[in-house]
Symmetry: C2
Subunit: 411 residues, 2 copies
């Protein structure tokens, strides 16, 4: 009799985004005339940079010729892309990361969940709260947790609150953790980490022999040149951190699919027998066996992000979305709401007014303004009482949404 | 202290293709003048069909415009692609498969290994021998086996020999199996399964409540219209089989990356508590959480395979490679060797002459003819005494390789 992975039954049924879709659908059925503005899911709206489409068009043409055709590429990605990333994203910022420590993939969602393949089942895990649901769900599916309580907190995970009360500076784990998920600039709160803050985490990880899984998917949105873009700007992170990055948000690749993971060769973990093993080698083996690399055409598009034209075009995209974020921030503040994030991240994190909870505020915006946000409680228990608004939309839609909010009775 | 997945230590170090590379490198270092012809790894050499590059070029252009831009797509793939597949690959052949039972992915290697995510750790597993190494290695990594013996057979797996002695008709499992990996047309032997043969497996699976993981990556190379292309041509397979397919070999997508997996909604497995659970639902959840869909541009390329022009161009590609296979078969037979496969599959499976083992024959071809094959023993213990030659190369290279073989002292 074939057995399934029973841990999937531990997952909560009411997953965040499907539940949002359900409420939108019910509302739209009752109000078919309503013109919804979606500031919920963090999907980009602006076209790919011309440098990227030019490079992809050239690559497509090459694939139609015998001399320019590319079959299987290296599972870890083409050297020219890994080299461009190492140089521009790391070495130019003073991080000692080499091209062969960079693994190209088709998405950070894949990498942040697949990374568990090479890790043991007995690690003690800490996540911030609120948190990107994939970190948690992938651990639930792997059987690393107990069932969830009424607030959606799974047994066996250590939740580190990241709220206005602690100035979005999560406490270090109260009981030792072996695996710590961090994301800065943060999804969903838009909070950022200073170099000192990253140093605090690296110091913790090194003193506890822990591994930091650092998600830097939003680093391109940082506006303050003093803020670190990579955990590897803290030198000792080479001994205790893996970093995930993506072209999705900064270069509009959500539908094109390219990302990468940085695993320093100096990083190791331990087997059950206590032997030290290189995580770089384990991931190389994992990718060689279970992955076949990213489309040649897509890798050429990603490479173009690092050309002079690509860099300028990406900078304009980032500015465009951050201007949206500023418009959202200003309007919400004008309405008397407490607003966080949106200064170095494309997400604005807003405290719900009065004593409303996240879903009540979500429903109010949907029904009164026909604006879709994302309830903070969907990201974790400590997200209760907040709502996330995304800056990924056209200027017209963002401005229209803010005009509508001004007309709502928000308090 | 961070723990790693200790099961990776169970993997044998001398993985097939790296070992081939090592021997090629050593040979090339000693004979830098040698012009090697590679008939080893099954990578295509001909350009993408024009229908595909045309569609991809149009899609790239669209991605550069605000109206044609596509962000996150459905994790399961775009409906238009799933619909085209359901219609052309299944419904037209009388298989009752619906579009929403098809999950688009970036590769069959990913799918055949990731499928274990939704299955339990206590299934009894059977594989044919020889076998595509990914089926075995992904189970080793998941901790489903014991260590390997000297022949490379892992403890806990049931190996079903597929050799000339049984006319490439593997025996049913001697002890009950819950999970059975089958691949027809077969990699590496080139063997095919008749409808009666598939019926035999489906009957076994249904009477033992087992699941068949059916890899049909090479179905497009079938020349005999009586042979089944899909396990779903056996109607009851909807209750006991998952099928994997790929655009890699038939449409030259090895470097473009698109494949799909078919999971009937009627398929279920059991939890530890004995509850029946839909595998379709588990895989939907797995893909939604750990995957973000295939590049829009690539999916448009795959869709074009089903256009009239695309179908004609793919048919020409298949004929081209199968003519290569025929040239290889004829020459080897002329040389007095026992030859299998190569009639409905792009792989020719040849018995080593005299009492040579696989690696000796590999070395002989490399040293005497400067031709690279793949030693059968690398695919499993029952592959010992065979060698695989791939038909994926230019006509000139294939003919040159055969001319060289004629000059060798093969016996």
């Amino acid at each position: 009799m074939v057995r399934v992975n029973s841990y999937y039954q531990t997952l909560r049924a009411g997953y965040l985004f499907p539940e949002i879709q359900r409420r939108i659908k019910a509302f739209a059925a009752q109000h078919p005339e309503a013109d919804l503005i979606r500031l919920g899911i963090g999907d980009v709206t602006e076209p790919l940079p011309a440098a990227c489409t030019d490079a992809m068009a050239t690559a497509v043409e090459a694939m139609g010729t015998r001399t320019g055709f590319h079959g299987y590429g290296p599972e870890q990605g083409y050297h020219w892309l890994r080299q461009a990333i190492a140089q521009h994203d790391y070495q130019q910022r003073g991080c000692a990361i080499e091209a062969d420590e960079i693994f190209i993939s088709d998405g950070s969602k894949c990498d942040t969940s697949n990374i568990l393949d090479i890790l043991g089942d007995d690690n003690r895990i800490a996540v911030t709260d609120p948190v990107y649901p994939v970190y948690v769900d992938s651990n639930v599916m792997a059987g690393h947790t107990g069932p969830a309580n009424d607030q959606g907190c799974y047994g066996g995970l250590q939740y580190l609150p990241l709220t206005a009360d602690n100035d979005f500076r999560a406490p270090l784990p109260a009981t030792p953790a072996d695996l710590i998920y961090l994301c800065f600039p943060n999804n969903p709160t838009g909070a950022v980490a200073t170099r000192a803050e990253l140093q605090r985490w690296v110091d913790y990880a090194r003193s506890h022999d822990a591994l930091i899984l650092f998600d830097a998917a939003y680093e391109a949105f940082i506006q303050d040149s003093e803020l670190p873009h990579s955990i590897f700007e803290v030198e000792e992170a080479r001994d205790c951190a893996i970093e995930f990055r993506s072209f999705s948000k900064k270069a509009g690749f959500t539908g094109t699919r390219c990302a990468f993971t940085v695993i320093p060769k100096t990083l190791s973990g331990h087997t059950r027998n206590g032997d030290a093993v290189s995580l770089w080698q384990l991931w190389s083996r994992r990718q060689s066996t279970k992955f076949n690399g990213v489309s040649y055409v897509v890798q050429r598009g990603a490479e173009a992000v690092y050309s002079a034209a690509g860099q300028a075009q990406v900078a304009r995209l980032v500015t465009f979305y951050m201007d949206n974020a500023a418009i959202i921030r200003q309007q919400l503040q004008r309405l008397g709401l407490a607003v966080y994030g949106g200064q170095h991240a494309p997400y604005v994190w807003v405290k719900t007014p009065a004593s409303m909870n996240s879903w009540q505020f979500f429903d109010q915006l949907l029904h009164q303004a026909h604006v879709v946000g994302t309830p903070g409680a969907g990201f974790g228990a400590a997200g209760e009482g907040y709502l996330r608004l995304s800056a990924f939309n056209s200027r017209g839609q963002v401005e229209a949404a803010m005009t509508r909010l001004a007309r709502c009775k928000l308090q």
